[in-house]
Amino acid sequence: MASSEEDGSVEEKENNNKKRSKSAIATAWLTFYNITMTAGWLVLAVAMARFYIQKGNHRGLYKSISRTLKFFQTFALLEVVHCAVGIVRTSVIVTGVQVCSRIFMVWFVANSIKQIQNEESVVLFLVVWTVTEITRYSFYTFSLLNHLPYFIKWARYNMFIVMYPLGVAGELITIYTALPYVRKSGMFSMRLPNKYNVSFDYYIFLIIVMLSYIPLFPQLYFHMLRQRRKVLHGEVIVEKDD
């Protein structure tokens, strides 16, 4: 982060300038980030559409877009940093959970368990992710530029109603389909005895991950529903504290 170049001036003025220049740089960076991500997911959408039009089916679709997907989805880790540093006013934990679940699906399920890459459920969540991310990142981009077309706001706060459940379905079905292959290969697992006295069964871990969708998904879904009521209908909601 570039620091203020001024020195020798009145300290308060310097601090104010620092604050102003900091948030101008932050805004510039965030705008650049969101434009890049919008572009990235658009590229993915186009690549997937082209593949399907040319080949007529989804076999090999994942493989053709996997590098682009891995790049842009991993890049999204920066969003956790944005929250932690404070230039984005969202909870670090909420963002962290969402990004981690994506990274997990991409690297530890789709990428590692080759046998499920041609499943329909994979196409399902890829399509859902693409639509959701293009909407989300363009929403952020236009908000930062202070010129938000209503239809983007509408899309961001309405499409999730259908997209979220579809995406969760795609992810869960994919993990479930992968289970037998994980069990057979014993991947990512560690058995006793070993000198660190620990064991890890990836198969059981995946089952626990699937079960964790039960408490987590409704929380995220209802959080978005509350946001929707607030933003689209101007409802004042008294938040329930813990």
């Binding site: 006793l192 005895p193 070993n194 000198k195 660190y196 006295n197 620990v198 064991s199 008294v238 504290d241």
Partner: protein
């Protein structure tokens, strides 16, 4: 003859704005504590510890020793009530949190049925480090229970039931997880054998003694009133000399205890437990350290929060 102006207090529900209680003829010098007892009389289920009273929805909860006439209200005060849920006193909380790990570890040590394979039920490990680890773990929690009952003097504070359940899940769950591996039939003893175990044991015992000394010292200082005007300082007990270097030596010693236990058992889950505990205690220590610095202008500059000369 002066007339005392009585106050009226209206208590509304935080969410629904419904009037829960209207208190008239309240003494101007009544404390919030007394108002809470009056509300308790109207609603026998809402004991004072679970009441939160605020002047504004978005403001902070009023303290028990705030006095009515000193608050920014007219002679009719409006307060918002929020139910904090069932509450437990600190002593009860710590007893429940510590009794779990004590007994859960023993379930695994004695290899009760259905934990490990049928053929290992009620067997014992051939390695001397395993009963030693059991003794150390049990000693640690017995010591904590004794401190909770006889040494610590807690404020009147309480903890919400939900928080206590979350904490219990953490302590009980983690002890089960690490006990499972240490007492497992396929447990591998430490790589450097008895030497590793002996040095780790020494570290464990020294840190337990250190932690106990600090707890005792702090509570003596609290009961003699020293802590009202002064920050904790080293005494003749060499273990308290850590106060020269850190604000919260009790946490320092606690981390040391668990590092000792990790080295003794050479078990990854124990290392993880130590790490998580260290992070949490560092957060607490740094908070305490900051409070001390703000409160005392002459706070020793050499002291840091938890790790001497470092953190």
């Amino acid at each position: 003859m002066s007339r005392v102006t009585f106050f009226e207090v209206e208590i509304l529900d935080y969410k629904t704005n419904k009037q829960l209680c209207f208190l008239d003829k309240v003494e101007p010098h009544a404390t919030i504590k007394e108002i809470k007892s009056l509300l308790y009389k109207c609603y026998p289920k809402l004991y004072p510890a679970r009441q939160s009273l605020k002047l504004h929805r978005s403001g902070n909860a009023l303290k028990d020793d705030d006095i009515l006439e000193n608050l920014p209200v007219g002679t009719t005060a409006t307060m918002y009530f929020k139910d904090l849920g069932p509450q437990l006193g600190w002593t009860m909380v710590f007893l429940v949190e510590y009794i779990g790990p004590l007994f859960i570890y023993l379930l695994f040590y004695f290899r009760l049925p259905y934990i490990y394979s049928q053929k290992y039920t009620f067997t014992s490990s051939p390695y001397p480090v395993v009963p030693l680890a059991c003794a150390c773990h049990s000693f640690h929690y017995i010591k904590r229970l004794i401190e909770t009952i006889f040494v610590h003097r807690f404020s009147h504070g309480t903890m919400p039931l939900r928080t206590m359940l979350k904490n219990c899940l953490y302590y009980w769950g983690f002890s089960a997880w690490l006990a499972y591996y240490i007492n497992h039939p396929l447990y591998t003893p430490p790589s450097y054998g008895n030497q590793q175990v002996h040095y780790a044991l020494i570290m464990f015992v020294l840190c337990e003694a250190g932690n106990f000394s600090i707890n005792l010292t702090l509570n003596n200082m609290k009961s003699s009133g020293t802590l009202l005007t002064r920050f904790p300082y080293p005494t003749r007990n060499p273990f308290t000399w850590l106060f020269f270097f850190v604000s919260c030596p009790n946490y320092t010693y606690e981390v040391g205890t668990w590092i000792g236990f990790t080295i003794m058992t050479q078990c990854a889950p124990v290392a993880l437990y130590t790490l998580v505990g260290f992070i949490q205690m560092t957060i607490w220590a740094r908070g305490k350290h900051k409070t001390y610095i703000q409160q005392f202008k002459d706070y020793p500059g050499l002291r840091v929060a938890i790790i001497p000369l470092f953190l």
